[in-house]
């Protein structure tokens, strides 16, 4: 069983492109095209595709406002983009492709963006000296521990998404292979047992779990950015 991403194109100098990169670009292009298409020829009184687009954008803004408060509303575009990119990447299993987020490179890149945003917000709120002082609370010897805590956040965030999606991929693959073996043992001409029986597993791992994991990923991102905004309000 091959569980890693497959190499699609290999150049002479050792650089290669995996199907993670290909489908990541495809998902991004699909999202861009959907966004551009649904905002074409906008009217004052919305109809058709504009209603859906407005509902989605409003939902994202309301969620960000409810979680991050009015000061964090500037993060709404990033949070919305992150949510839909992770959602669509997780759901690629529905089309028989390997989910983009079943590659630790993708999830760690996303978590690294979040990490940079958190540190940027902290620097904006406290300044460099203030951040150092805040990390030396309540005792100065806690400083190394706080650094480890900050650094471990992107690792745990990326591994959470990666592990959940990869687990789904492995379970689905094992189920399909097992059913194919079973139909071979029953002397069926084609693997007929693969047809309907895996549907509940597909529903769980390709619809329910992607929505849940995308929600959790964006939710934790929002919570950790908010922590850097909220403590500032208490001081002033």
């Amino acid at each position: 069983m091959h569980i890693g991403p497959q190499i699609v194109i290999k150049f002479d100098n050792g650089i290669f492109i995996t199907n993670t990169v290909c489908f990541g670009i495809i998902v991004a292009v699909i999202l861009i095209v959907l966004a551009l298409w649904s905002t074409r020829r906008m009217k004052k009184v919305p109809d058709g595709k504009q209603v859906i687009a407005e509902t989605v954008v409003e939902g994202v803004y309301n969620m960000v406002k409810a979680t991050m408060g009015p000061k964090g509303i500037n993060y709404a575009p990033y949070i919305g983009t992150l949510f839909f990119f992770v959602l669509f990447s997780n759901m690629l299993g529905l089309f028989g492709q390997r989910p983009v987020t079943a590659d630790v490179n993708t999830t760690f890149a996303l978590a690294a963006i979040t990490f940079v945003l958190i540190q940027r917000q902290a620097l904006k709120s406290y300044g460099l000296i203030g951040k150092m002082k805040e990390m030396a609370q309540p005792y100065p010897f806690m400083f190394p521990l706080k650094i480890i805590e900050q650094l471990s956040f992107p690792i745990s965030l990326s591994f959470r998404l990666f592990g959940n999606i990869l687990g789904g991929v492995i379970v689905i693959e094992m189920l399909l292979e097992g059913l194919a073996t079973a139909s071979e043992a029953l002397h069926l001409p084609i693997p007929l047992l693969d047809a309907v029986i895996p549907l509940p597993a597909n529903f769980f791992f390709d619809i329910f779990e992607p929505v849940l994991q995308a929600f959790i990923f964006t939710m934790l991102t929002m919570v950790f950015i908010t922590m850097e905004i909220a403590t500032r309000d208490e001081e002033h």
Partner: protein, 87 residues
């Protein structure tokens, strides 16, 4: 019979055993932890049905954080099975 067991086979056998033990104990702990969170959330909904949406959201995020240790155990198992560093 025992003379036929090569060192590589022994490494693979114990790697499989280690993977199973790692994910098994982690799943035990997570199961208990997530169950506790869910039971408290159910109690909360029973006491205050109008706060169901907020409780569900907080419960899911808390369970996701609980799950982290299990995910690390899962990655250890995956590395032992598919990308074994010893063999």
């Amino acid at each position: 019979m025992s003379s036929q067991i090569t060192p590589e086979a022994l490494i693979y056998a114990f790697s499989a055993l280690g993977a199973a033990v790692s994910i098994g104990f982690a799943a035990l702990g997570i199961g208990i932890g997530q169950g506790l969170a869910a039971s408290r959330a159910v109690e909360g909904v029973g006491r205050q049905p109008e706060a169901k949406g907020d409780l569900l959201q907080v419960m899911l995020v808390g369970q996701a954080v609980t799950e982290t240790t299990g995910i690390f155990a899962f990655i250890v198992s995956i590395v032992l099975l598919f990308a074994n560093p010893f063999a």
